[in-house]
């Protein structure tokens, strides 16, 4: 029943409820107007002033949310649970970190042309792979290229051999573990244990200045919102439906004449690129990148953000990343010894009791409230109680069945 002039974007607009666009607008206003005002214009010490710490934390959370969305794209939609997304994240961070290191110039401890750690190793020249990283543009190209290429090659081999499920999870874990060992070596040329730190400026602006901080935060949120739109569009398109079909029955999809390889590979590579971009945004805001970002524990934590929020919902990934990381920030200060117990129990509880995450829980609660309302026949009251719920149902899931 598609009309004559049905644009590619139509499914996106049809599938996204008005509530979603409102939330989108609210987040954008907060990030691009409210936070800059509160941080830059409201004087320090004022009740409404946002401290450096808060802005940096918010920026960090936006990057984490971005990674979570990337993982949700492959896990929630294509059923590929990657335990190696920390690797792509760190690679993006390292690629941009190379530019940041070179932007230090002669302001390092040794006032040398080379970064301090290379002086320490008694190196005289940059290794070949550092070529061109003094240009921010090339570094940004690398941010996309390196994780993307690695993911493409790895994914091509893995998906072609039809490695799936837990096998793939374990192999991605081995991949990030091997990379971590590699980056821990000083000879690899990425600063060994300490990684990159002590950045001074970015694009010519001092990296710790309030203006830069706000700009980086706003950029992170902008990328996050853009990624959400992109992923949402992909998910609501034909491509997304094939992806979910692969998740639910790969053999059947193959029998229907689709080659799952290219669908999975595209989602996988895109996901890795998003992670790389998140890493690149993360590094200047946190001020450090080191190989511990590639540890297996970090990558599994990303999976739990997605699981807490709700798999396959994209927005859930953002919510999960925010909830878990805010809890972590609070717990590690208030009850440092209890944090791991709590995190561990989240893992267990979410998988046992909340298989659809917080978003799934909310949907279930809303459905429970609507059913008695409908039964009593007072439709107006129910719509008022849950504004937008009806529209979401009508245009979203309903269309998906028809189209």
């Amino acid at each position: 029943m598609s009309g004559p002039r049905r644009s590619l974007l139509t499914p996106l607009f049809q599938a996204t409820p008005r509530r979603g666009w409102i939330a989108f607008g609210v987040v954008a206003t907060l990030a691009f107007v409210v936070v800059p005002l509160l941080h830059l214009v409201v004087p320090a010490g004022h009740v409404f002033h946002l401290s450096d710490y808060t802005v940096a934390l918010a920026g960090k959370l936006a990057c984490y949310a971005l990674v979570a969305v990337a993982l949700d794209l492959v896990w929630g939609q294509a059923g590929i649970l990657s335990l190696g997304h920390g690797l792509f994240f760190a690679l993006g961070g390292y690629c941009f970190g190379m530019y940041l290191m070179r932007a230090i110039g002669h302001d390092g401890v040794y006032q040398s042309d080379l970064p301090d750690f290379m002086v320490f190793l008694d190196w005289k020249r940059y290794p070949w792979y550092w070529t061109g990283t003094e240009h921010a543009a090339w570094a940004l190209v690398l941010v996309v290229l390196v994780p993307g290429l690695l993911a493409f090659v790895f994914g091509w081999f893995a998906f072609r051999s039809r490695i799936r499920g837990v096998y793939l999870s374990i192999i991605t874990q081995a991949l990030t573990y091997a990379a971590m060992l590699l980056f821990f070596r000083n000879e690899t040329g990425f600063g060994g244990n300490n990684g990159f730190t002590d950045f001074k400026r970015i694009f010519g602006f001092p990296v710790a200045a309030p203006g830069t901080r706000v700009a980086l935060f706003a950029a992170s949120v902008a990328v996050l919102l853009a990624t959400l739109l992109l992923c949402r569009w992909l998910v609501t398109s034909r491509f997304g439906r094939v992806l979910r079909a692969i998740r639910d029955g790969e053999s059947r999809v193959r029998c229907l004449g689709y080659d799952p390889l290219w669908y999975k590979l595209f989602a996988w590579t895109l996901s890795a690129v998003i992670c790389g971009v998140a890493g690149a945004l993360y590094v200047p805001q946190v001020g450090i990148i080191n190989p511990s970002e590639m540890s297996t524990a970090n990558s599994i934590e990303i999976a739990i953000w997605v699981a807490v929020g709700g798999r396959g919902t994209l927005v859930g990934a953002v919510i999960g990343a925010l909830v878990v990381n805010l809890a972590k920030s609070w717990f590690t200060v208030a009850f440092p010894t209890l944090w791991l117990f709590f995190l561990g129990l989240i893992f267990v509880a979410v998988t046992l009791f909340l298989p659809d995450g917080l978003v799934g829980l909310a949907t279930r609660l809303r459905a429970r409230r609507r059913v008695p309302a409908r039964a009593s026949g007072s439709g107006a009251g129910a719509t008022a109680a849950v504004p937008g719920a009806g529209t979401a149902n009508g245009t979203g899931s309903g269309k998906e069945v028809v189209a």
Partner: protein
């Protein structure tokens, strides 16, 4: 200098050397001679005699407690003066008594001789130091003494140094025949040090005699071959040792993942539970049975198994049984459990590594080749892993429980229908896998650090073993563990430990692409997902 131990050494030497009542007066006379050659000859003669008196005199000489008066030699001992030859007290000191002049050459010979006497010391460290010194300072005349020491030396390290010193002493000889014999004797050795010496001899500037040079070449080839052999032997052994550790770590996983299909990310923490039970038993033994301290490891075996078994059963009952149909979720849930276990270990035992002592019967080793010593603890761990493997295999293939486990693996519904209590079998099988992990952890505690994070080190490796070996296959796990161990150790020799590890992981990733079902695939037809 250690006068006390030297005295003991000399007393020991006395037992062997022919009894000599006193010092030969003529030797003493030659010591006071003006000619350095005479003095050196006397020093050599004295040290070859190896009597307590001779040793005491040489010691006194090196400590400059000696006075020469005419052709008599007087030794000061505290306030008294004694005649070196007769041992009688001389009082008062004769006129014109003065310290004999010792030039550097004489001093060097004196040091060499004293070292040669010290190689009879009962203290191993003294002998080791003396033998090391001898290699640098021994003159050809001392060779007979060194050979005598060699004959009664039992310690391999000292023996090796002594052999070296003996040959080096004879290599300093002026007689080309003696040097030739020494070079040929060195060909029997198998140490890198000898190789260095012989390589030096190939230079015509260092060795004038062409025959000796040719013999050195021959000896060198022989040594290189033997060194290579020793190298290969020790590498294969350490590879097998690493493999047995991997096997212990992976065997439990081969049951829980391989047979039951549960991704247990907390498997490493079950190893940790086993290791900490070993620690707890050790502490308990120290407090209650200090005498039986050495045997705590044996007592810890059932404790480690029981502790990990219990942990496994609790995990299975509370969490894992609800996730059998959802492997990806069970991965996350068990990871959560691992975090809880790690934090629990930190709270109970502290965040630092704990000290787990090696019992004395696990230290030391056997030398299969002079350069390849196989440590006992590694041998025992290899044997232990074989034993655990055997028991596991028997349990799975020869017992009723094993049959049930295999039945549930093959067809859960059918097994249930014919009366297999599938729920209880799952619990027991998971507990069994966990208990084996506990035993593995106890073995690990003997050779590596025991700390809250220790499990994390092995989890990736264990999964690699199981994946490489092929899911559901004990034989595959064994072959994969041994192969990975040996492969890693040989790579380590070429590239260093970290790169070797990365290469091994890369190899597994590539291997899985080629053979996704592992080394040993289950036979039969399977429907994908």
């Amino acid at each position: 200098m250690r006068p006390v131990s030297i005295t003991i050494a000399v007393l020991m030497a006395l037992a062997l050397a022919p009894p000599a009542s006193a010092l030969d007066a003529s030797l003493v006379k030659r010591l006071v001679a003006d000619d350095s050659d005479e003095k050196i000859a006397a020093i050599h003669a004295l040290s070859l005699a190896a009597t307590p008196e001779a040793a005491a005199l040489l010691q006194a000489l090196s400590e400059e407690r000696v006075l020469a008066a005419g052709d008599r030699l007087l030794v000061t001992q505290g306030d008294t003066l004694r005649d070196a030859a007769t041992g009688q007290v001389v009082s008062p000191a004769p006129e014109g008594a003065e310290a004999p002049t010792l030039n550097n050459r004489v001093r060097r010979e004196l040091e060499g001789s004293l070292a040669a006497l010290r190689v009879f010391d009962p203290d191993r460290r003294v002998r080791l130091a003396a033998a090391k010194l001898l290699g640098e300072a021994a003159s050809p005349e001392l060779a007979p003494l060194i050979e005598r020491a060699l004959a009664k030396e039992a310690d391999p390290a000292v023996k090796e140094l002594l052999t070296l010193a003996d040959a080096q002493a004879r290599l300093r000889s002026d007689d080309p025949k003696a040097r030739l014999a020494a070079v040929q004797a060195l060909g029997e050795a198998a140490t890198p040090n000898v190789k260095t010496i012989l390589t030096g001899l190939l230079d015509p500037a260092a060795e004038v005699d062409a025959g000796v040079r040719a013999a050195a070449q021959v000896s060198l080839v022989a040594i290189e071959r033997r060194l290579l052999l020793a190298d290969v032997v020790s590498r294969v052994f350490s590879g097998l040792s690493l493999g047995s550790i991997l096997l212990l770590a992976a065997l439990g996983l081969a049951i829980t993942y391989g047979i039951m299909g549960v991704i247990n990310m907390a498997h490493g923490e079950l190893l940790m539970v086993g290791a900490y039970s070993g620690y707890a038993v050790q502490v308990w033994f120290r407090n209650h049975f200090p005498a039986a301290q050495d045997w705590y490891v044996v007592a810890a075996l059932p404790v480690a198994f029981a502790a990990a078994f219990t942990a496994g059963v609790i995990m299975e009952r509370l969490v894992i049984r609800f996730l059998y149909k959802r492997p990806l979720e069970s991965l996350l849930a068990t990871w959560g459990l691992s975090l809880v276990l790690i934090q629990a270990a930190r709270v109970v035992f502290g965040a630092q590594n704990v000290q787990v002592a090696n019992p004395s019967w696990l230290s030391g080793g056997i030398a299969v080749l002079p350069n390849a010593v196989l440590p006992w603890n590694r041998i025992i761990i290899i044997a232990f892993s074989m034993g655990v493997l055997l028991i596991t295999w028997l349990l799975l293939s020869r017992t009723r429980l094993g049959m049930f486990v295999r039945a549930v693996t093959q067809n859960r519904g059918m097994a249930g229908a014919v009366g297999v209590p599938t729920g209880r079998v799952d619990t027991l099988a998971f507990g069994l896998g966990a208990g084996i992990a506990g035993l593995g952890g106890l073995a690990l505690s003997q050779i590596s650090n025991v700390g809250p994070d220790m499990g994390q080190l092995y989890i990736v490796d264990s999964f690699m073993v199981v994946v490489l070996g092929g899911v559901g296959q004990l034989a595959g796990a064994v072959l994969a563990a041994a192969g990975l161990g040996v492969f890693a150790k040989f790579l380590e020799g070429m590239t260093g430990a970290v790169i070797a590890k990365i290469l091994v992981l890369a190899f597994i990733i590539v291997f899985i692409q080629k053979r996704p079902q592992g080394l040993f695939a289950l036979k039969g037809r399977f429907v994908e997902s």
